[in-house]
């Protein structure tokens, strides 16, 4: 602690003299832009130990060398981001609205369709709420129970202090600070996120969810999540919430690392519904996420399920490194783009161990003027005897102004491995639509039903309550796409 206080003091001095701006350490914001002082500020603000600050600085210095390495290979078009024009700590809080009357009626309409309770609607939309939010208290109750079982489920900033040995050992061990432009940036400036540790042999009896921590949110821009499943344990983790959040942050660059030891299993489900921008492509979130899991132990398993319906730009490849013999990686994805949205998403399955298996099921739906790309890598290493991969990528086009693309890379170095890849492209048939409408469904209901059928294999991997909302979301995100 003494060290960090000293650091804070040092930062203060440096700030005052060297750069001529004064930042009160007690204040909630750092000025715009990115430099070492800002990083020291973030670290000091979080009272971090020296090693954590060093990690951030190492990442930042490396990031500076990457100015030409901002990924350009994805099928995404967006204006160049000025990284000096962003806030990296506690971006000015969006103004609290006085009541729901001030909220975009379209957003409220969506909440209604999803059946979100009024109080929750206010939270999501950013209305000042005095009442205690139900799930917060629920979460606290759960947290106690989990602690008794030895589960650690806390903000990562807390874990840095309480479980430094675990954080030190695993942070950056799957996504190293030097991994890619966005991940490096995240390593330098991450604000907060979740930390989960499941002890040996425990089957975590409840789904862990960021939803429980909704009050602690506001960490969205550079989230960092680390989940460790110790030998023989199991955990299912849910990320995000199904309702679109009124969020004005332009850039999101999150990192998620999963580690599964011998015989452990992690199931990670995401429903991403950030603000997609308006029908003309104005506004919306740029979502650059690095998610990767390491199946380090034998017989371990990591399963990613994602339903991506939001964001203006999605750049995301939840991956599995299958190191342990007989480990299993699975990726189930629904990506919906409408209007001017662009998504370039997929997975990497890196087979290193013997008998490793992977399965990829990707469903891309493109409507309006949107572009939707599946990009995936299956790599079978020379030692991955008897490895198996099965990949199925299906695209659905709605209308003739959108695009659907499939870019798989399959690299095989082992003769005993078997890989299989299939991809198809289709549209919603006029006869299918008419059939549904002849049974009394509106066109939007019909589209939603048909698209949900198209996505079924993926949606059914979601936990029950999530699946129901995801189904509704599929319909909502495609409203106005036919006709």
């Amino acid at each position: 602690m003494a060290v960090t206080r000293e650091t804070a003091a040092a930062v203060k001095e440096v700030e005052q003299y060297k750069y001529g701006f004064v930042t009160d350490i007690e204040s909630d914001k750092a000025p715009k832009g990115l430099n070492e002082d800002i990083i020291r500020f973030i670290s000091a603000k979080k009272n971090e130990p020296e090693w954590m600050l060093e990690y951030r600085l190492k990442a930042y210095r490396y990031w500076l060398t990457l100015s030409d390495e901002e990924p350009a290979w994805a099928k995404l078009h967006f204006p160049k981001i000025n990284y000096q024009d962003s806030y990296y700590y506690a971006a000015p809080k969006r103004e609290k609205l006085a009541s729901l009357d001030e909220v975009d009626p379209k957003l409220l309409e969506t909440y209604k369709k999803l059946g979100i309770p009024l109080l929750e609607q206010q939270m999501l939309a950013g209305v000042a709420v005095d009442a205690v939010f139900d799930s917060v208290s629920v979460a606290t109750t759960y947290k106690k129970k989990l602690e008794e079982m030895g589960v650690i489920f806390s903000p990562i900033s807390e874990a840095v202090h309480k479980h430094p040995e675990l954080v030190k050992k695993y942070l950056g061990s799957v996504v190293p600070y030097s991994d890619n432009f966005y991940a490096t940036l995240n390593a330098a400036v991450f604000t907060d996120g979740s930390f989960v540790y499941i002890p040996k042999g425990l089957r975590c009896p409840m789904e862990l969810s960021t939803y429980f921590r909704i009050n602690e949110k506001n960490t969205g821009q550079f989230e960092r999540t680390l989940i460790i499943a110790d030998e023989g344990s199991y955990v299912s983790y849910l990320e995000g919430c199904t309702a679109p959040q009124r969020d004005e942050n332009q850039l999101h660059a999150a990192v998620v690392e999963l580690i599964a030891l011998d015989d452990a299993e992690i199931k990670y489900s995401t429903v991403q519904n950030w603000y997609p921008g308006d029908a003309d492509g104005k506004g919306g979130i740029f979502n650059f996420v690095t998610k990767r899991g390491a199946c380090r132990g034998k017989n371990s398993k990591i399963m990613w399920t994602q339903v991506e319906t939001g964001s203006a730009i999605t750049w995301k490849y939840p991956s599995c490194i299958l190191q342990g013999d007989n480990s299993v990686g699975e990726f189930y994805s629904v990506a919906i783009t409408n209007n001017r949205q662009q998504a370039d998403t997929g997975t990497k399955m890196i087979h290193l161990g013997k008998g490793t298996r992977s399965k990829i099921i990707s469903k891309g739906i493109s409507a309006g003027h949107a572009d939707n790309t599946y990009r995936g890598l299956v790599r079978i290493g020379a030692k991955a005897d008897q490895a198996r991969n099965y990949t199925q990528c299906d695209s659905l086009l709605i209308g003739d102004k959108c695009g659907a693309h499939t870019v798989p890379y399959i690299e095989t170095r082992n003769p005993t491995a078997q890989t299989e890849h299939e991809a198809t492209t289709s549209k919603i048939g006029d006869d299918q639509l008419f059939y549904c409408m002849q049974r009394g469904m509106t066109q939007e209901e019909a589209v939603s039903l048909i698209v949900n059928g198209f996505c079924k294999e993926v949606l059914q991997t979601l936990p029950m309550e999530f699946a129901v909302e995801a189904q509704k979301l599929v319909g909502i995100s495609l409203e106005g796409s036919v006709g």
Partner: protein, 251 residues
């Protein structure tokens, strides 16, 4: 007032006139059969009533309880009580028959100002109806029409009709591709729905179906017009003598 009234209906497909002045009145409780050789406009008539895209009505009216059907979109017609049992039911991958039925049923209930059906209540209802139609209950767990045999598809159509309880049901060549056992099951389903406030329009090429679903009126459609009307005995006459005399007369 007639339940369904078709007045001097002209319709064309891709600029080609198919229906050339059809007039027909269905009173509540009645079963009308429309017979005729292939290519005379039978399916066009059912598609025009149901509101399929690509069919242009150039003249005439279709009224349901005096309401203008042609002004409604396809789904509005369905919710108003017009049901079309398709000649070729469409496959919808991934969508279970059960989910489909529930969505359709709720669309109707919404129209009637009723709340969505409770899940348990729905399952009970489906169980009862499938049992009534002698269908295996497990069928509703399969994707709609995907991999169904010809007979299963037609049975699924009748199941939907039974669930949705339409005012007017149009059966478009429901007998095509059915063996005799399937034909009996489907017909029994239809007959069980006959009621004093519901009307049927049975479109068929063969008289066979009418042995099971006995019509009150039979009409002969040739070259886009109704060229003869009569009682159920007309169907027998057609079976014996064929369509030749009507085709020649109309040409």
């Amino acid at each position: 007032m007639a339940l369904l009234e078709i007045k001097n209906l002209y319709a064309s497909v891709a600029g080609k006139e198919i229906l050339k002045g059809i007039t027909l009145k269905l009173q509540p409780g009645e079963v009308h059969a429309i017979m005729g050789p292939n290519g005379t406009g039978k399916s066009t008539l059912s598609n025009v009533i149901a509101g399929r895209d690509g069919y242009e009505v150039t003249k005439g009216e279709v009224l349901l309880d005096g309401e203008d059907v042609l002004a409604m979109a396809a789904d509005e017609r369905a919710r108003a009580g017009i049901f079309l049992a398709f000649q070729y039911p469409v496959e919808i991958p991934g969508v279970t028959t059960s989910a489909f039925l529930k969505t359709a049923l709720n669309a109707k209930r919404r129209q009637e100002g009723k709340p969505e059906i409770d899940a348990m209540e729905f399952l009970k209802l489906v169980k009862a109806k499938t049992a009534q139609l002698g269908m295996p209950y497990d069928m509703i767990k399969r994707a709609l029409n995907v991999g169904f045999s010809g007979g299963e598809k037609k049975r699924a159509e009748v199941l939907q009709m039974t669930m949705l309880e339409p005012r007017v049901a149009i059966l478009d060549e429901t007998d095509s591709g059915l063996d005799i056992d399937a034909l009996r099951v489907v017909s029994e389903g239809v007959n069980s729905l006959r009621s004093p406030d519901r009307a049927f329009l049975v479109i068929t090429h063969y008289q066979r179906l009418l042995d099971y679903i006995v019509p009150d009126h039979v009409h002969v459609l040739a070259h886009g017009r109704i060229v003869a009307s009569g009682g159920k005995e007309l169907a027998l006459e057609l079976e014996a003598e064929g369509y030749a005399k009507y085709l020649n007369a109309a040409a």
